[in-house]
C-alpha cells in the first residue's frame, strides 16, 4: 500500500475521512510527512483541507483568532501579533516556520511545541469542528483527540504583559531545553495582580505553573520578592529527559530561567 493524500475543501468531509484507520491530518507536514518518511507504516493516508479560512488571522476588539493552518512565519510577521512573535520565531528555522502550523504545534510532543506554551499562558480557546474548549482541557486529552482543530482564539496581550523565553543549546535555532511563557497583569506600581505561566519540556506537553503563579501574586518583580515563586516553580513538573538535557538539568535551571524572564 502506498501513502495516499486525500484533499477536501471542508473540515467536515476531512473529518469523516479521518475516521478511517491509518488516516492522519496533514497540516504543515513537519510532523506527519516526517513520520511517513521515517517509515511509520501505521500511516496510510494523509488528509488535508484547503478551506482558506483555516489560514486566516483575524484580530479585532483585542482578540485574535488564528486558523489552524496559519504558519509560524505568518504569526511572526503579522504586525498586530508582535507580542507572539518571539514564540513563533522560536519554532525551527525559516523554512520550518513557513510550514509549521498553529494547529500542528498543539500536537507537537516535548521538546517541541514552544508556540503552544505561549498559547497556554494566554489561556487560548481551541476551536474544533465539534466545538470549543480551553487549551488546558485540549492538551490533557490531545492524544485521544480525533476532532480536527480549526482555530485557536485568545485575548491579545499587551506587549509589556507577555513574556516568552526559550532556552536551547544551539543558536539561533535549537530545540528547547525548556520554554516559559508568562502573562502578568501588574498595578501601576508594579505589583502582580494576576499571573498565568506556562512551561515547555517540564512534562510531555506544555503545562501550567500554578504554584509559581500563585506565589507571584502581590509581588513586585524583584529578585527578592519573586524568590518564593521560583522556589515553587518545580511543583508538579515532571521534566523530560532527552538528548538535549536530562530531567535533573531541566529542573535545576527552570527557576534560574524563570527568574531571568521575570526580572531580566
Amino acid at each position: 500500500m502506498s501513502l495516499a493524500l486525500q484533499t477536501f475543501s471542508t473540515v467536515k468531509d476531512a473529518s469523516a475521512a479521518l475516521q478511517a484507520a491509518g488516516a492522519r491530518y496533514l497540516g504543515g507536514g513537519t510532523l506527519v510527512v516526517r513520520a511517513a518518511n521515517e517509515g511509520d507504516v501505521s500511516l496510510s493516508s494523509l488528509v488535508r483541507v484547503t478551506d482558506p479560512s483555516l489560514s486566516r488571522i483575524a484580530v479585532s476588539g483585542g482578540k485574535a483568532r488564528l486558523g489552524a493552518s496559519v504558519t509560524m512565519a505568518a504569526v511572526a510577521r503579522h504586525p498586530e501579533l508582535n507580542a507572539l512573535s518571539p514564540a513563533a520565531r522560536a519554532v525551527g528555522g525559516p523554512a520550518i516556520r513557513n510550514m509549521a502550523t498553529v494547529g500542528g504545534n498543539l500536537f507537537a510532543p516535548a521538546p517541541y511545541g514552544d508556540f503552544t506554551v505561549a498559547l497556554l499562558a494566554l489561556d487560548a480557546i481551541v476551536v474544533t469542528e465539534d466545538g470549543e474548549m480551553p487549551i488546558e482541557t485540549f492538551l490533557t486529552g490531545r492524544n485521544a483527540s480525533r476532532a480536527v482543530v480549526t482555530a485557536v482564539a485568545f485575548p491579545l496581550p499587551a506587549a509589556e504583559s507577555f513574556r516568552f523565553r526559550k532556552v536551547s543549546r544551539v543558536k539561533p535555532k535549537g530545540v528547547s531545553v525548556l520554554s516559559i511563557a508568562a502573562l502578568l497583569q501588574r498595578t501601576s506600581d508594579g505589583v502582580v495582580t494576576s499571573a498565568r505561566i506556562a512551561f515547555g519540556c517540564m512534562a510531555d506537553r506544555p503545562m501550567r505553573a500554578k504554584a509559581a503563579e500563585k506565589a507571584l501574586l502581590g509581588c513586585k518583580l524583584t529578585s527578592k520578592e519573586i524568590a518564593p515563586a521560583l522556589a515553587a516553580a518545580g511543583a508538579g513538573t515532571s521534566p523530560i529527559t532527552d538528548p538535549i538535557a536530562s530531567a535533573w538539568y531541566r529542573a535545576e535551571v527552570l527557576p534560574v530561567h524563570l527568574g531571568r524572564l521575570l526580572v531580566g
Partner: protein, 334 residues
C-alpha cells in the same frame, strides 16, 4: 548570577598517514595530444579538496598552470589503487604518487622538447605558463602544446608516468612497543577563551586562537577552509556532541540534527588561524596532513578554559551545561 570568564591552552601533534604505514597509493599521469595532463587516481575527495590539490601538485611538477590538469579519480576501472582517504593521508600519500608520476611524464616531455629544439633535455626548463625553454636562453623555446602534438603524432612517445608511494609497514615490537607510527607530524597550539554562566553551566566560546604547523600550505585558501571548519568541530566535540548523551547508558541517543547537538551559526567563536610551515622531509613539497589534527587542540583548550573560569574540572566529554552545573554544586557543597 555571574558570567565568568576563563582561558585555556593546549598543544598537540598529529601523525600524518595510516598509523604504522603499509598504506600504498598510486597515480598515473599522461598528456593529451594538446598538452593537457590527466591525473588518474582512485583516491576519494570527501570535500576537503583532494582533486584540486592533486591538480596543483601535478601542475607544479610538470610545469604547467593548474587549469591544464584534469583529475580523474575514484573509478576502479580506470584508477590505480589507493588505500583511501583517512588518517590525514590523502595529500601526503597521493601527492607523492602524483609527483613521481608527473616527474616521469615531465622527463619524457622534456626529451621530446629536446629533440624538437635539438638540445639536451637536461638543458631545458619549464616556465610554468605552458612553455619549455632552454635554460639561460629563454628565446629558444617550444610550447607544451607543440611538444605534446609532436610526441603523439610525430615521435610516437607517450608523455606519461607512473607513481607509487608506500611507507613500508612497521610492526610494533611486542614487549617494548618500539615502532614507526609515522614519518611526519603536524603541530598545533590553541588558546581558547570562554564565558561560563555559573547558574546554568552554559559555556560560550568567545574566541579561539589556533596556531597550526602543517608542513606546507599547498593552497592557502583551502588550508584555511579546513582549519576553520576543523576548529569549529573541535569546539563542537568539546561542548556538544555525542550519540549517547548518558553513556554508558544506551538510552536517548539522538536521531536527527535537532537532537544531535552541534554549534549553530549563532554560536560561532571568533576564530583566528595562524599557519606555520616546516616542510616535512617526505611530504609533497613538504606538506603534512592537517585534516584531522586541526579539530583536536580546541577540545582540551576549552576544557582548561572552563576550569579557569569556574574552578571545576570536567573530565568527561562532552562538557555539557549539566556536567558543569553538577560540578559547581558539588564545589559549593564543599
Amino acid at each position: 548570577m555571574a558570567i565568568r570568564r576563563g582561558r585555556g591552552v593546549a598543544a598537540i601533534n598529529y601523525p600524518t598517514g595510516m598509523n604504522l604505514g603499509g598504506d600504498p597509493t598510486q597515480a598515473l599521469v599522461h598528456s593529451t595530444p594538446t598538452g593537457n595532463f590527466m591525473v588518474t587516481l582512485s583516491s576519494v575527495d570527501l570535500g576537503q579538496g583532494m582533486k584540486q590539490i592533486m591538480a596543483q601538485i601535478c601542475a607544479e611538477t610538470i610545469g604547467v598552470p593548474t587549469d591544464r590538469v584534469i583529475v580523474d579519480t575514484a573509478d576502479t576501472d580506470t584508477g590505480p589503487h589507493c588505500m583511501g582517504t583517512f588518517a590525514s593521508r590523502g595529500t601526503h600519500r597521493a601527492g607523492n604518487a602524483v609527483i613521481q608520476a608527473a616527474k616521469e611524464a615531465r622527463q619524457v616531455m622534456l626529451e621530446v622538447a629536446a629533440e624538437e629544439l635539438e638540445v639536451n633535455a637536461s638543458d631545458l626548463e619549464t616556465d610554468g605558463q605552458g612553455n619549455i625553454r632552454v635554460k639561460g636562453a629563454p628565446q629558444k623555446s617550444i610550447s607544451i602544446f607543440d611538444v605534446a602534438l609532436s610526441a603523439h603524432f610525430k615521435r610516437g612517445r607517450s608523455i606519461s608516468g607512473r607513481g607509487m608511494f608506500l611507507i613500508p609497514r612497521s610492526y610494533p615490537e611486542k614487549e617494548t612497543g618500539a615502532m614507526k607510527p609515522s614519518t611526519c607530524y603536524a603541530h598545533a597550539c590553541t588558546v581558547a577563551e570562554v564565558e561560563v554562566d555559573d547558574e546554568t553551566g552554559e559555556v560560550t566560546v568567545l574566541n579561539v586562537k589556533n596556531v597550526f604547523e602543517i608542513g606546507r600550505a599547498l593552497n592557502p585558501k583551502m588550508v584555511e577552509q579546513q582549519l576553520v571548519g576543523g576548529s569549529w568541530m573541535g569546539i563542537s566535540h568539546a561542548l556538544y556532541e555525542t550519540t549517547e548523551p548518558y553513556y554508558p547508558n544506551r538510552d536517548h541517543g539522538g536521531t536527527d540534527f535537532n537532537q544531535y547537538l552541534m554549534p549553530g551559526p549563532g554560536d560561532l567563536a571568533e576564530t583566528e588561524i595562524i599557519v606555520l610551515e616546516r616542510p616535512s622531509s617526505d611530504g609533497p613539497f613538504g606538506a603534512k596532513g592537517p585534516g584531522e589534527m586541526c579539530a583536536n587542540p580546541q577540545i582540551p583548550a576549552v576544557a582548561n578554559a572552563v576550569f579557569d573560569a569556574v574552578g571545576v574540572r570536567i573530565d568527561t566529554l562532552p562538557i555539557t551545561p549539566e556536567r558543569i552545573l553538577r560540578a559547581l554544586k558539588a564545589q559549593a557543597a564543599g
